[in-house]
């Protein structure tokens, strides 16, 4: 058994950038050498609210990008939606704030050994980690096409610089305020055939991941998805973030999305049983 949480460490990390991007905040955090261990798909857990906060649990965020800047050393980028009290606190912090960060956590997206055609599908700010992933896939020689969807234009996260590693980018909004009107899962079936897609990488709401899996199910297409379940600890000790996963031999067990995920083989997740007991 591989060591759980291998390479994870607790870091007092400096927030070196906090910029509003549409409905989201782009946070840049200096995590030093820990950046060397972060891979697309990994997440971080950050203390929120300060020492006297009544919020006792960390908040988990997908790492969207890692870079080694000459000014700051290793940094990571997070795209945060200020929805709840914890993420609002985080987005309100100014540059120079020291954050208590545990990183990196969780599984990473698997990168194909051969240069194959891949499709990246993101929902809302779930698209954030896909741009860093696109760069890694592009470097491997994969042709990367991307689909992004959200309820409305303001919730689409698609930075200009992120598009460089992407061959094509299609955007879908449910209200038609950006790109085409509709859901992001609608064109996938045709794209798989037109582009000869071997792997789909997805990140977004569970309903979107489930819809993608319904399309890839029974096909040769590999579906790697980053799941989302509410978690208390992020390190595998609280057992709250579980979902039913098949081991491939028919045995279903409740696996932790923090250490057995967030990136999972979509074909093994028992989507119909998510949120129910076994």
């Amino acid at each position: 058994m591989a060591q759980i949480n291998r390479s994870a460490q607790q870091i007092n990390a400096t927030l070196v950038g906090n910029k509003r991007v549409g409905q989201y905040h782009q946070l840049i955090i200096n995590i030093g050498d820990a950046a060397d261990h972060c891979k697309p798909g990994n997440f971080v857990a950050i203390n929120v609210g300060g020492d006297s906060s009544r919020m006792i649990l960390r908040r988990a965020f997908a790492i969207s990008r890692i870079s080694s800047s000459s000014t700051f050393g290793g940094t990571m980028e997070l795209i945060v939606a200020p929805h709840g009290a914890g993420s609002k606190w985080l987005c309100a912090q100014s540059e120079g704030t020291i954050l208590d960060v545990v990183a990196p956590l969780g599984t990473a997206f698997g990168i194909p050994t051969e240069p194959v055609q891949v499709l990246l599908v993101g929902g809302g700010y779930g698209s954030a980690p896909l741009f860093g992933l696109a760069e890694v896939l592009n470097a491997r020689g994969c042709r990367v096409d991307m689909l992004l969807g959200a309820s409305t234009a303001a919730k689409i996260y698609a930075p200009m610089e992120g598009k460089r590693a992407v061959n094509s980018l299609r955007i879908y909004t449910e209200d038609g305020t950006m790109g085409q009107m509709g859901r992001v899962s609608e064109p996938i079936k045709a794209l798989i055939e037109d582009l000869n897609i071997a792997v789909i990488y997805s990140c977004g709401p569970m309903a979107m991941l489930s819809a993608i899996n319904a399309i890839t199910s029974g096909t040769e297409v590999v579906h790697q998805c980053a799941v989302e379940e509410s978690m208390a600890c992020g390190i595998g000790i609280c057992m709250t973030c579980v979902l039913p996963v098949n081991d491939g031999a028919g045995n279903v067990s409740m696996l932790r999305s923090c250490i057995d995920g967030p990136v999972m083989d979509g074909s093994l997740v028992e989507w119909d049983s998510v949120g129910r007991g076994l």
Partner: protein
Amino acid sequence: MSAVDFSTIIGNAWFPTPVFTASGCASSGRELAQFLPLHDIGAVVTKSVMSKARAGRPTPRMAETPSGMLNSIGLQGPGIDAFIAKDIPYLVSQKARIIVSIAGETVEEYSTLARKLRSVSGISAIEVNISCPNVENRGLVFACDPEASRRVIDGVRRTIGGELPIIAKLSPDVTDLTSIAQGVVDAGADALALINTVLGMVINLDTMRPHLGGKTGGLSGPAIRPIAVRAIYQVHAAMPKIPILGMGGVSNGRDALEMIAAGASGVSIGTASFGNPLALISIQNELKDLLQAKGFLSLRDAIGFAHRVEQE
């Protein structure tokens, strides 16, 4: 090297420090081992294990609440055979001291679990969790019923013989905690773990239904700490010779010393580890510094101190 004697005794088991994990908040140790050497804390109290593998309750399983959280796990676990085969050898390999927590649906299941553990080496004590709130039938929360509590502990004691200390984990959700504590001690418990989580509920106003998949959950974290301190104080006052493993919202050295002053011989850290994977180590260091700063030569001198002050 600190001059304070930091060791503690629970039943006949000796521990070099009084800071332990809380059952259900450290799995079987592997996850925390990346952050701290398991040998450095008093003991790993493993997640309550049952006879058979168990999937637990549906999600959502947690809700954060002011200074606390509700959990509704429902005793998910590998079952006793896989636990003995995989988790005990791992903890032994880490030179961790081990307290195995067991949970059953019947009096007989507890005895069966105790029988399987009797011949396993490397275990310092057994915690008998008769107070998990996340079971379908509240009637199965043995610790809410004095007679059922006694029967479980009696069965475990008869099965396991006189060697391994038995720690009975009790619920604060009872009318007369002291009489239940007295009952399990009379039935053969060497020590008490106080307290398990407090039964609670959150309603999701988007769905207008209970938020947790299991509807109710166990409240933990600093929100319940005063309840734990009260419970420890009351039980220690009634049975000053019975060691208590105190727990419930301890998140720093000050909180740990508070429980010790109330009568705890050791302190378990649960929810604090969710927010801080190094909580066990920082609490242990802070407690040691605090004892020294207050002039205690040994931890034992501080146990139940709040009672002594009253008598003077």
